[in-house]
Amino acid sequence: MPEKKIRVLVAKPGLDGHDRGAKVIARALRDDGMEVIYTGLRQTPEMIAEAALQEDVDVVGLSILSGAHNALVPQIIQELKDNGQENIVVFLGGIIPEDDIQGLLEQGVHKVYGPGTDTREVCKDIRSAVSAEA
């Protein structure tokens, strides 16, 4: 039997068009042996939850640089729950002010990453979060 692959949805909610960070992360996760579903720009919370449902992912990685994280992230987490996927681990990366991080973690985000994060750290965090969930 083949080993269980970790499936990650990398999504960019909201209106900013800067997906370099999302692509760097997608590539790093691929190189770490994960299967990364990349959905493209300007996704609504409904679209992200729908993609997570159809792809049965273990992890959703969100990249937000627009400043709309406090509006978008809770909606996405709620949509995932409504679909019965409360087991999905949600990570967030982008330009997130220090003051907002605690609130987002309380909403259910597993971890928040800023610019300059070592991608190896992200891979390690995902692996340990998924094995804790299983």
Binding site: M1, P2, K4, K5, R7, A26, R27, L29, R30, D31, D32, G33, M34, E35, V36, I37, Y38, T39, G40, E46, M47, E50, A51, L53, Q54, E55, D56, N83, G84, Q85
Partner: protein
């Protein structure tokens, strides 16, 4: 609970379907039981394969096609299995076909599943067929299977799909390319996508010429038609008994020509059913599936008969050129008998 998952899937629960697909993809013990219970409900869906070189616009075409199929009178549910390559080095993959399929989000009658090829080389993944069975049992009338970007010999799709569509784009090569064996001759429908670009008419002409060359010998045998099995036949027989692959022009990006493509797919489905080829194709697909299952099952059984160190020992002998691989196979296959006796 496999039984619960199965009945939820049959009721149209999309999360249950999604979880079943994951089980199948992992090849779990549970998935075998699920597939067994789903099997009586399969055999209804029209499976459409889409293949062609990387960048020819397959995903964009699938996007437009799925939307078009949804407008058919029966308002059919449409499933999409999009296969992308797994990295041979890390085992990871980036599955990016959804990026081109954003128009389809929000329609609950469409279900897109991305799949990594996980080392399979024929343009599909090992479990693609089994995943299509789950969609079939969940009453998806059309299952569109998009292969990895294919070169010239990734032709596994023909064993799985009822209708195989090969996508080409203008400027992919001269007329010699179009008479080579391989991917072009598996097409039931040929599409020249991006046909608003220079050279589209020329590409259409090359493809039409290729088909015309094969037409005299067009023959249906064993459930598959092969342009290459050019046995001369009586002219009237050929004219009454063949599906001649149409060559269509599309611009997937804005949907041009996609209505015609959907029409041809429906027509091809009817043609297969009227001629009995639908059943013949199913038969050859089942034969193919059984062959693969027997191969993997026998391999696993054999693998248990021989301890790792014995296998390693024989590999080293081959490495040192003291044993030819053929001799090695003889020893490996008889290992069990020798030790038992």
């Amino acid at each position: 609970m496999p039984a619960e998952l199965t009945s939820e899937l049959r009721k149209g629960n999309r999360l249950a379907l999604s979880r079943v697909l994951s089980q199948i993809e992992e090849g779990s013990e549970k998935s075998v039981r699920i597939l067994e219970s789903l099997f009586p409900f399969t055999g209804q869906a029209h499976k459409i394969g889409i293949t062609g070189p990387p960048g020819s616009g397959k995903s964009t075409l699938v996007n437009a096609l799925a939307r078009q199929l949804r407008t058919l009178e029966s308002h059919p549910k449409v499933a999409i299995i999009a296969v992308d390559p797994t990295s041979p080095f890390s085992g990871g993959a980036i599955l990016g076909d959804r990026v081109r399929m954003q128009d389809l989000q929000g329609d609950k009658g469409i279900f897109i599943r991305s799949m990594a090829s996980r080392g399979a080389l024929g343009g599909l993944a090992a479990q693609t067929e089994m995943m299509s069975q789950a969609f079939d049992a969940a009453a998806y009338e059309y299952i569109i299977i998009e292969t990895v970007g294919a070169g010239q010999s990734e032709v596994d799709i023909v064993n799985l799909a009822h209708t195989t569509i090969v996508v080409d784009v203008p400027g992919m090569g001269d007329d010699i390319q179009s008479i080579k064996a391989g991917i072009l001759e598996i097409a039931d429908i040929l599409v020249v996508n991006k046909s608003d670009q220079l050279g589209a008419d020329q590409s259409v002409k090359h493809l039409q010429n290729m088909i015309a060359m094969g037409y005299r010998g067009l023959r249906y045998a064993g459930g598959k038609h092969r342009l290459s099995s050019a046995m001369p036949q009586k002219q009237d027989e050929i004219e009454t008994s063949g599906w001649v692959p149409p060559v269509l022009k599309t611009v997937a990006f804005d949907g041009t020509g996609v209505d015609k493509l959907a029409d041809e797919i429906v027509k091809h489905g009817k043609y297969l059913k009227e001629t009995g080829l639908w059943t013949q194709k199913a038969e050859s697909a089942i034969t193919d599936t059984l062959r693969k299952l027997i191969q993997s099952t026998l391999y696993q059984q054999w693998r248990q008969t021989i301890p790792d160190e014995e296998l390693e020992d024989i590999i080293i002998q081959v490495l040192q050129r003291t044993l030819h691989p053929h001799q090695a196979i003889k020893q490996l296959l008889s290992y069990n008998k020798i030790t038992r006796n």
